[in-house]
């Protein structure tokens, strides 16, 4: 067991001006009044730095919703952490970006919901696309690493080529093309988001061609949907192996979704040191090692590569957090995923998509009080 997390995910707030239909925030969000203070966060960063963590990922909700973000950046930098801002860009101006970079911000990851304004704004639940495009050009002028993150799914995968062209014009160092993963709000909207097999196969070809063309200029990291994979992802690099997430109210979690797992007590940074939580707490110990693994994982050659997949996904799809991740072709509950995939591939999605977005009853996340 590593003695410290490699990176700290600082989920600074659940407040956000957007309402993306695939949001990974929990369905029950932390209220504004319960958020950690500036001093509390800075203490957490100092502990993380002393423990040996290297990165701090500022996320949310929308981290820019924190008025003290510049102080938080200074605090994380002073603690020896590489600061990464994961943002929608809403709330970012030239002046604010300059202040953040001056305070020690190393990397900005800017999200896009697509290449077409009307659909992007519908997915985000608010006008946002035009502002993001302007921001992309602004970020390039600062001495900061720049990644564009585009979330893809059934509604926009057909024009992935167009999306990549849009990203090229923004000239980031790197683009992450991330297929939706089904937790939180994304799971509520899964029927309209899960791509068809044809879409996934075509997208892989489009990405390969773009990678060859852009080698050395822009790095492409493509995250395929695990519902179509043969084996599961090594979620978070394993439970409590690489990453620790602190939620807006100070709860320490091994990932953003683990709150759905019943029977676990997640300790709070207000009550315990990071070191104790990481090394000793029952929640972080729960799925470490191999003793908890069921068959086929326990004797599977891949158990040290993918750790049996994602605990939260196992819980959400089978009701049992200790089950083999059902996306695995060897999982006893694999038929659960097969049924979902079959429905998407048989239904209206199999028809030729029209140029006009098909009206969908999206479930939008609210803003916490």
């Amino acid at each position: 067991m590593p003695t410290a997390p490699l990176a700290l995910i600082a989920e600074l707030t659940h407040r956000c001006p957007l309402h993306c239909v695939y949001c990974s925030n929990p369905l029950e969000m932390q209220k504004t009044g319960s958020e950690l203070s500036t001093e509390e966060w800075v203490r957490v960063f100092q502990e993380a730095g002393r423990l040996g963590s290297l990165h701090a990922h500022f996320t949310g909700g929308e981290p820019l919703a924190r008025a003290d973000l510049t102080e938080l950046t200074k605090g994380a930098r002073a603690a020896g952490l590489y600061v990464n801002l994961i943002t929608s860009g809403l709330g970012l101006s030239e002046k604010r970006l300059a202040a953040l970079v001056y305070a020690g911000l190393e990397h900005v990851q800017l999200s896009f919901q697509g290449s077409r304004e009307e659909m992007a704004d519908e997915i985000a639940g608010a006008p946002s696309h035009a502002h993001k495009l302007k921001l992309g050009q602004l970020i390039r002028q600062f001495k900061v690493a720049f990644t564009v993150n585009v979330v893809v799914h059934r509604q926009n995968l057909d024009h992935l080529g167009e999306i990549i062209s849009m990203v090229e014009e923004l000239a980031p160092d790197r683009v992450e093309i991330a297929n939706v993963q089904y937790y939180g709000w994304a799971l509520r909207n899964q029927e309209a988001l899960l791509p068809t097999l044809k879409q996934v196969e075509k997208s892989q070809r489009v990405v390969s061609a773009a990678e060859a063309r852009l080698s050395g200029r822009m790095r492409i990291d493509y995250v395929a949907p695990d519902y179509y994979a043969r084996y599961p992802k090594a979620c978070m690099g394993g439970w409590g192996r690489r990453l620790m997430l602190i939620d807006p109210a100070g709860r320490a979690l091994p990932c953003h979704a683990a709150g759905v797992i019943p029977g676990l007590t997640f300790d709070n940074v207000r009550d315990h040191s990071l070191e104790w939580i990481w090394q000793e707490s029952s929640a972080f110990q729960k799925f470490r090692g191999e003793a908890w693994m069921p068959e086929p994982c326990r004797t599977c050659d891949r158990r040290t590569e993918d750790f049996g997949g994602c605990r939260c996904q196992a819980l959400l799809l089978t009701g049992n957090a200790a089950a083999t991740d059902p996306v695995c072709s060897l999982a006893p509950a694999h038929d659960v995923v097969e049924k979902i995939v079959a429905r998407v591939n048989e239904g209206e999605a199999a028809c030729i998509p029209s140029p006009v977005p098909i009206p969908t009853n999206w479930v939008y996340r609210p803003n916490p009080r």
């Binding site: 490699l6 290297l54 990165h55 590489y82 990464n84 190393e106 990397h107 990851q109 690493a145 990644t147 160092d173 790197r174 080698s215 050395g216 822009m218 790095r219």
Partner: protein, 66 residues
């Protein structure tokens, strides 16, 4: 440690010697010559090839520009 978005590289030995010389001033050729002097017992052509290959890998990952 060399840190970059979502990753880190622990630098040791020659990798570290090369990266430490990526200072925005030196050319690749100067770095090669430095290392050839540092590892004077080594084959100069091999050192040049390895420096080029190392930098190319990091360039493709968008960690280093030259």
């Amino acid at each position: 440690m060399l840190l970059f978005p979502e990753g880190a590289l622990r630098l040791q030995g020659t990798g570290r010697e090369i990266l430490e010389r990526c200072d925005g001033q030196r050319t690749v050729q100067q770095i090669v010559q430095d290392l050839q002097k540092l590892y004077s017992a080594g084959d100069p052509a091999r050192i040049e090839a390895e420096v080029a290959s190392f930098l190319e890998q990091l360039h493709r990952k968008r960690i280093v520009d030259y």
